[in-house]
Structures are given as structure tokens and as C-alpha cells.
């Protein structure tokens, strides 16, 4: 039996973020404003995919990024856990 762990890492965000950013965000570095730990987005702890993807600091679990997509809309929260940006991407426009 394969055990399912509660999180993967930011490598799994490469695909979803490729619809939004023109650069590869998995290599973007981030300093946690809570505990000060640093590292690439690729090594954040990612929870989901339901109800969305949440990337958290590997050390203190502070939310770094949240990405929720339904059929038509994308909701992106950068840093913190509130105030998402809402938009549609080219992928969603194509349907």
C-alpha cells in the first residue's frame, strides 16, 4: 500500500503556474516573513489539489501562495492568506 502524505512540494506548481507567469516560478526564491526561512518555491510544502493548491513555508507553515481554479476563474493569493486576485487565463478562455 502506498501511504499518502498530506503534502507534496512546489515542483508540482510548475504546471498550474505556467498558465499565469511568464517565468518559471518554481525557481523563484522566497523568504518567509514569519520565520525567516528561505528557499525556492519548488521546496515549499503544497497542499491540495482540493479545494485548491496552498503553498506553505516548510518550517512554519505560513501560507506563501494559494491558487484556486474552477472552470472559468482563477483566484491567486500571493503572500498571506487573504485578498485573492481573480482572473481568467488563456487556458480557461480556450475551455
Amino acid at each position: 500500500m502506498t501511504e499518502v502524505s498530506p503534502h507534496v512540494d512546489g515542483n508540482s506548481l510548475a504546471g498550474p503556474l505556467s498558465d499565469i507567469f511568464s517565468v518559471d516560478m518554481t525557481r523563484a526564491s522566497w523568504r518567509c516573513p514569519g520565520c525567516g526561512s528561505t528557499g525556492p518555491l519548488a521546496e515549499l510544502h503544497v497542499y491540495g489539489p482540493e479545494p485548491g493548491l496552498t503553498a506553505r513555508c516548510a518550517d512554519c507553515s505560513r501560507v506563501a501562495l494559494r491558487l484556486v481554479r474552477n472552470g472559468e476563474d482563477t483566484w491567486l493569493t500571493l503572500g498571506g492568506a487573504e485578498g485573492p486576485f481573480r482572473f481568467r487565463t488563456a487556458q480557461q478562455a480556450q475551455g
Binding site: 499518502v4 504546471g15 518559471d24
Partner: protein, 236 residues
């Protein structure tokens, strides 16, 4: 950059273990990829419901040929279907290549240590195969941790005695008869000899379930390996 979803057809399925499968897809127009990268696979049900998951590529770029390694997750939405039910000749959507962090490029000439837990061996196998294909002389070591012999991936290929690759298997539940190492989880003593052969500029790639990766990364940093030289990929 937005990457298109491409249609890819399943052309081959092979057993790696009792549950793990190698799948070969044909993806016309595939732009190529680097060892360590992954793809997103998307399935669409008759009612329009879509589910997408990431899978690592097990082999370096080879035209339209994509080789994946799939270990079905109990209760998973996608992996059990891909592993055993998707018919040969059927199509899925694939997006990629993805991920520029957890990659090995043939231009890298520093010594490399690959530490694989179970299905985490898949992207590391792409690195092994890319290293071999490039006839690279940089020292490559692989430690593959599995429960027992029956859980080894790529047995024939990794057991073939490739002079460019130093392979060690490590068993956590049941070691084969005659083993010098008792069954048990990865520990510092398992990494010591490998770390000695990494110069200060060596790179370590660790991949597997989250618990394995975090335990391995802790052992590596405790043994003095610079965290900046360690790249990880957690499968969950």
C-alpha cells in the same frame, strides 16, 4: 509561459513491480525535456469532469516518446486508472515539460548522488539514463530505498553493472538472504560512504514520498552536506 495541452497516446505498458508501471506515450510535436522534469497528465470524464496530476519522466528526451513511471495511490483519482485501466491506444492530455529546479543537465560535471525512495527513483532514472547517453564521466551514485526486492524498479537495468554508475539498494522491511545490511530505514551510515565521494561541489538529488525526502535531507545536512547542494522533490 502558457504551455499547451497536447494529445498523447499510450503505446506501451510494462510492469516494474506488482503495482508500479512504466507507461510509454507518443506525443507528436513534443518539444523535448531535461532529465528530472515532469509532465501534467489530464483526464476528462464523459461528464466533462477533469483531473490532472504530475508524473515524472523516466527517460531523457527522445522525439515524441515519453516514458512515465506510475505507482498507483490507494484511492487515487488518476494513478490507478493510468497504471492499469487506460487502454493501449487511448489518449490523454499532457502538458510540459515542467520544472526547472529539479533537473540534471549533461553540462554538469560535478559528482552527483541520487537518493531515491520507492517511486522517487523515476526522475532520478531519467538522470541516470541522460548521464549514460551523454557518456558523461562525472561520478554518479544512486541509493534506491525500497521495502523489499519485489519493490525494486528498473531491476535489470540497474543491476547490469554500468561502470559509469554506482548503485546501492537499501531494503527497509525485508533484506534478501545474504545481505550485509539488515532491513531498516535509511540512516547516516548508509550515506557516509556516498558523501565521502562527493567533493564539496557535488550535488545531491533526493526524491520520493514526503517523509522519506525530509528524513533523507535531514540526514544529509546533519552529515555536513551544504543544503544549497541538495535538491528535493516530494511526491506526497
Amino acid at each position: 509561459m502558457p504551455l499547451p495541452w497536447r494529445t498523447a497516446r499510450l503505446v506501451e505498458r510494462a510492469d516494474e513491480t506488482a503495482t508500479a508501471r512504466t507507461l510509454v506515450l507518443d506525443a507528436p510535436g513534443w518539444p523535448g525535456h531535461l532529465a528530472g522534469q515532469h509532465v501534467d497528465i489530464r483526464l476528462t470524464a464523459d461528464d466533462g469532469y477533469q483531473a490532472a496530476r504530475s508524473y515524472s519522466l523516466a527517460a531523457p528526451a527522445d522525439g515524441a516518446r515519453l516514458e512515465l513511471g506510475v505507482e498507483p495511490v490507494t484511492g487515487g483519482e488518476v494513478s490507478p486508472y493510468l497504471a492499469d485501466d487506460l487502454p493501449i491506444g487511448a489518449s490523454v492530455e499532457v502538458r510540459g515539460p515542467l520544472g526547472n529546479w529539479f533537473v540534471w543537465r549533461p553540462e554538469q560535471d560535478e559528482p552527483v548522488l541520487l537518493v531515491a525512495g520507492g517511486s522517487g527513483v523515476v526522475p532520478l532514472m531519467a538522470m541516470v539514463r541522460a548521464h549514460r547517453r551523454a557518456a558523461s564521466t562525472s561520478p554518479f551514485q544512486l541509493i534506491h530505498s525500497v521495502r523489499g526486492e519485489a519493490d525494486l524498479w528498473y531491476r535489470a537495468e540497474l543491476g547490469a553493472g554500468d561502470p559509469a554508475l554506482d548503485v546501492r539498494f537499501l531494503y527497509t522491511r525485508q533484506a534478501p538472504p545474504g545481505s550485509t545490511r539488515a532491513a531498516g530505514r535509511l540512516m547516516a551510515a548508509d550515506l557516509e560512504p556516498a558523501l565521502k565521494r562527493l567533493t564539496p561541489t557535488g550535488t545531491v538529488y533526493v526524491c520520493g514520498p514526503t517523509g522519506f525526502v525530509e528524513a533523507a535531507a535531514d540526514l544529509l545536512t546533519s552529515a555536513g552536506q551544504d543544503p544549497a547542494t541538495i535538491r528535493t522533490e516530494r511526491f506526497g
